[in-house]
Each structure stands twice: as structure tokens, then as C-alpha cells.
Symmetry: C2
Subunit: 454 residues, 2 copies
Amino acid sequence: MNPDLMESLGRILGDRLGTSDAIRAQHGSGESFHPPDPPDAVAFVDSTAEVAAVVAACAEHETPVVPFGAGTSLEGHVNAVRGGVCIALGGMTRVLHLSQEDMDCRVEAGLTRLGLESELKGTGLFFPVDPGADATLGGMVSTGASGTTTVRYGTMRENVLGLTVVLANGRVIRTGTRARKSSAGYDLTRLFVGAEGTLGIVTEVALRLRGVPEAVASAVCSFPGLEAAVNAVTLTIQTGVPVARAELLDDVQMDAVNRFSGFEYPIQPTLFLEFHGSPDSVREQSEAVAEICAELGGTGFRWATRTEDRNELWHARHEAYYAGLALRPGARGWATDVCVPLSELAGSIVATRADIDAEGLTAPIVGHVGDGNFHVLFIIDPDDEVEMAKADRVNSRMIDRAIAVGGTCTGEHGVGFGKMPYLAKEHGEALETMADLKRALDPRNLMNPGKVIG
Amino acid sequence: MNPDLMESLGRILGDRLGTSDAIRAQHGSGESFHPPDPPDAVAFVDSTAEVAAVVAACAEHETPVVPFGAGTSLEGHVNAVRGGVCIALGGMTRVLHLSQEDMDCRVEAGLTRLGLESELKGTGLFFPVDPGADATLGGMVSTGASGTTTVRYGTMRENVLGLTVVLANGRVIRTGTRARKSSAGYDLTRLFVGAEGTLGIVTEVALRLRGVPEAVASAVCSFPGLEAAVNAVTLTIQTGVPVARAELLDDVQMDAVNRFSGFEYPIQPTLFLEFHGSPDSVREQSEAVAEICAELGGTGFRWATRTEDRNELWHARHEAYYAGLALRPGARGWATDVCVPLSELAGSIVATRADIDAEGLTAPIVGHVGDGNFHVLFIIDPDDEVEMAKADRVNSRMIDRAIAVGGTCTGEHGVGFGKMPYLAKEHGEALETMADLKRALDPRNLMNPGKVIG
């Protein structure tokens, strides 16, 4: 890397500039199967002003910058594919503002989801977006994260009130206000949500919070087929039951959790449900859904409200990822996702399962059914080219089918570079408009280059 | 207007090109007090292809285009302030797609909210965003509309799945998919929501629909002061009651509806509430809120579930606008709005009421309390310069106070040209980023010029 730039960065960061092979390697990839691309240096920043100074220094030397949170991304978002400086925000974890009355907060982008959870303890408030991984809030903004509770509480898009963003020229802007809604100009907040650091680096996040529900009920039910399980959730939503979580595990996944945790669930598609509300309301919701499940051939419906019982019921869901990996010791996981209209979900999963089986791959399927979103976890050996090619083909065909029925190539994992080849098919001419926006905000293509937009 | 352009437009539209003074005058303003600016011609378009052809022809002659829906906007959005061609979309009212299973639809931008309501009759579905006026869906997208049900169902931002948009160069793009969520690239949909036609013209809108609730309950309660009324709603939300509507009418507004409709309500701040759910759930919600209201000094709490009784209870709210105008026969209404954090709402309304009274103006206040959004309706004589200057000062000070406490200069009316002077104060440097986006998508400033971005 340019020695003048190194000197500038050293002046800004002191000993918080990392250049050792170990530190660079740690910051060269997320949790995905994609091979790593280490940055030339890692800037352990401590404030928005430092991020702005680092970005400005890099801009002066035409050097790319790549933001890095907790490194939990799945499609190569954090890989330094063109080298440059990794801006590691994990040290920026301050809570800048928290209002119980307004049910909102403003935090630095490096605070993680679970870090926020512990900050909120005792306030009666919680932040509902739960992608599973303990990602940073800045990372969750940047991938437009969602997860198990999205069916009730929405994605990051619906729960971010505003941002502080460092632009390509080193200038700092604040988007949004503390008001719950606004019609005052272009929605910059939502433009940076899901932009994966390619339009600017998010350094602060203002979030909408929710009241911790008075009561929570969890439920589990097995189904004779995928269609019945999906239809149970569709009908639940149509009936107006405000289900808070509705997770589907397919038969391969249920077999995996049985083996991993010693359960004896039927090897059948199984729904894991959760209800939030008053004690009366969660009982009413559970009863209504039990009836719907029974009508559709669901069996073994169990529900619980005590925390220990609920945790036990949901244990199988929480273990799904590691149970999947354990199907083949030593193998890696390649997690991919698509999202389709609800009416297409059962068909999409059935077709994908058949394709996986025809290729002879091991790959459990888990779905956020209420959103039409499902995940395939290929259990693979990244060094086996034949196997990787098979997984790639199954992934491509799954995406093609999703796009053909009006869906999207990724519901929540994001694009990184892993899903870039599919954007043209999904967006058509609109991809050119995205490129126009990229050129407008980052004319020299230095903000996380090689991601999202080619 | 350029005769070559007139000829081109005539070829595209035949007799659907209006140039008479009457037609031009009809399309020169919305419902606001702002004086009209008639366009040079009105293109009564019938398809996306026609809009694209008109935009391309106008671009060739450097002529502005201004989209027009139902003409219900309040800040001069549809005024042709630099002349040019009005693109009237009111004839484009087809329902292109409607899925009960997926609870979504795709409609042409000229369909109005009530038009959609009648299309959805018998499906068990409804579209929840209700700004009051019978605006077109395209117009509601373009102002980022919201309204009485936003506290429960969100604004247009949360309820639009995708759009068809004609860009400045005449190209047509589709944004979004039929999937409920996506992380596949920049969120173009949300960029056009609230852009007021300055980045492109929305011709089709894909919407998320909701299940008609099994039961609805309405309630009314009077309060000794604004603070108590606002606190009742805040507490309701914090407690997790999923209130569907929470409208505040101040004492001046209550006096107006008493006079207009012969009611005998106490001349006090009054809440109008609505609850959606199962019969048990709406009873439980109503009882919980009745208790909260009583604790805060609320009196005369009444609630009802039968449609006729509910309509009677909410009659005063529905008549608020006309009751306000009737306070001074012959006068016009100037409606303005701001949105602030909930904790600042009571203070903002009290300060605004004091300011209105000090200036000697007549102006009832109505608020969507759950969102922190409130409206002032100045009842004025637009020809009285002194009075107009007073209203302008009250409006400016209300906005300054809103911005000072972290709020926005408009929660749902939009910018048009009426609120343009306040954007710099609200957004700071971020306004420059908005201008960058405008230049990127409309480099010759022909899309509704003179609105939002200067």
C-alpha cells in the first residue's frame, strides 16, 4: 500500500492500524464458503470523525475502503476483493441515546444485536429484528437484515429511523429524524439500508424499539407435507392472527436435529411458532392456530408459555445450523436464501428439495414461512470442485425459479459478490438505475468496490 | 409551447391532449391555498407506454413534465411552476393483478384509494393506508402518504412492494418484486416513494394488502388537557395494545364539530380510537385502554363495535375538516403538518396553540397521536396579506420547534414547493446528497422541476 497513505492512517489511528497477516486474514472474509480476500490494512476506528478521516485519506490515494462489523455476512460482503483498507467498526459500541417514552435509541454501528439486547435490559423495550447471527447493527442495516420475527415486526427497513453515514468524499451526513415518519424529501435512510457499504459507511443507527410483550407463547406442530405446513401459516396470517415467529424445518433438517440433540420428532416438515401479546391474547392465538394446524393434518401440536418450556420447544430450531453441519463432520456450510410470494413457497421448496436430492447433495432447508423466505444450507467440502459445481447449479436453478415466480434472489443475506450474477435477471433495466446512483454517490468506485454493482 | 412538441403529443394522444384554459386551470393546483400555476397542456394518458412516449417527447424539447393524480395535494406538488406538460394519470385505473392468497395487488397509478376499496370488496382484504382524501395510489406513493391507521399498519413506505416508473429519459423500470422482502440491491422502491415525481413518474403500484379484521371497536374519550390525552396513547402503545387508530382533536376542533354537527361534546381535547382483532381481542384492547384513559383523567369513555354505532362515534372525526372550514364561512383552509417524537408531541401542540391564539388566528388542531404527527388547519382569507403573513409565521415557528426537538417539517403532506424552504434546516448536508440523486436521475431537471430540490 502507498506509504504516504500508511503514514496518514498512522497519524489518524496510532496503534489502531493493523497490518499483520493475522489481522488482515481475520478481516478478509465473513462466515461464508467464499475464499477470503484480505485487505492491505485494518483501521480499528473509534468515532465517526475517524471514519471520515480514514475515508478522506483513502480517497486521496484512490484506495478502496471496506466496512467490517462482526464478520457474519454470507455472500462475501466484507472481502477486500480489490485490496484497500478495512474499516473495522466493532469497537464503536456506544449507546448515544435511549428513550423509553419514545421507544427509540441511537447507537454506534459496531454495537451487536445481543449487545443492544443487554443494554435494553430492564427498560421494558426490545429490538425485534433477529437474523440469528450476532451481527452488528451497522452490518444489519447494510444488508437489510431480517429474520424470524419479520412476519410480525418487519425488517431493518421498517425499524431504522435514521443513520449517520460517511460518504465517499469523507463528508458526514445524518439521514432521517427522531419522528416516526416523514415526507420531507428523498428517503436517504432506506437508500443506505441494504447498500452494503457501497454508497457510504454507516457509523450510527437510530432504531425504533418495541415494548416487551406481556406474554409469549411458543408452539410446535408436525405436518404430513410441506404444502400443508406452509398453508397453515398462510391461513394464520389471512385470519389476522398476529403471529410473531413462524419457522419451517423440512424433513432433512428435522432428521438432523433429532440426531444432533437426541430428539424424537417425526421426520416430517415441522412448524415452530411464537405468539406475543397479553396472556389472554396469546392463548387465543395459540388456540386459533392449533385449530388451523389440525384442519391441515398437523399432528402433535404442543404449546407453552413458561420460559423454560418455550426454550425447550424451540431448542430444535435454535440448533438447526449446527445440527445441519454435524450431518457431515469436517464439512463447511454454504448458506443461501431466496424469497417468493407465499403462494409459491411450498412449490419452490419442493422443487429445490428434489433438485438437491437429484444432485446427491446434503442440504437441510429452513424457512421464515410468513415472509416466503427460505434458506438452503449446503453441507459441502469447498475443495471438492465437482460438489461445489453441483451446489452452484442447485443454487442457480433455485434463484431462477424464484425470479420466475416474482421472487428475489436473496430475501435477507444480501448480494456481496456471491449474488451479483443474478441481479440483472431480477431487476432488468432497473439495475442501470442502481448503477446511476452508485456513480452519483461514489464516482471513483472506492466504497466497497466489486459488491452489489459491477 | 413548441409546435413540434404539440404535434408529437397529438400523434401520441389524439384527442386526449387538453389545451383549453379550463382544462389547464383544473390541473394547475391541488387542494392547497397556494395560487395555481397551470401547465401549457394536459396529457390524459392511458398506459405506461404513453407516459414514456410523452416524457421522451418532452425531454427532446427540454420541456418539464408534472404528474397529476386526483389533485388532492396540499403543498403545490402538482403546480406547473415552470410550465410544461401535465401528465394526468387519473384515467389509468386498472387492477392488473390481485391475489387473495398472497394478499397483494398491482394497480395502475391513477386508481384512487376508494376505487381500490371497492375493487377489494368481497375479497376479505383491505388496503390500510388512509390519508383522508381520496387520492390516487400513485399520488400516495409520491408523497409518502400515511394517515389515521399508520400507528398500526405503517405508511406507504411499509405497504408498497414495487413500482413501475418512467424515468427522465423515457425508459421504463420495474422496482421491487412480489416477495415480501428482499436484500437484492438498492431499494429503488423506497427512493421513489416520497420523491413527488421529481425522479420519475410512477405508473403502476404493487401493494401489500391486509386481512379485514374479524372485529372492529371504536372508542371516544375526553381529557382535561392535551398532555393527558397524548400520554394515554403513549401508554397504550408502550403496553403493547395494537391500537389501529388514535386521533386527537383539540378543544377548538371539538367546538367546531359541536357547532357543525350539533354534538354536545365537552370542549376538551378528545381521543378517537379504533381497535382491530378478534371479538375477544378488541374487547380486551378497549378495556385496557379505558383503564389507561381513566387513570389519566379521561372522562366519558364510550365504545362500540356495531358498524352504525362506530360510525356515529367517529362522525365528529370524519367531519373535522369541514367543521373547521365552517367556523368562518367563505374562508379557505391552509393545512400544514409536522411530526415529532412522541415525548415532544404535547409540548409542540401546546406551543402551537398558544402561538395561534397570540396571533389571533382561527386554526383547529388534529393529530395522529400514535405517530407524533399533527395538523393545523388555518382558516384564512388568502387575499388578506396580513393574515397570510401571520399564518406563515406560525407555520414557520411550528416547523422550527419541530426540527429543534428532532422532528420533521412534514409528517405526511410532503414538500411540493410549500415546504422547500425548511429542508436545509432539517437535513443539513444530507440535502446536498438528495441533490446529487436528483442530478443523477434527472440531469436536465425536467421531472416536476421546482419541487423538493431547488
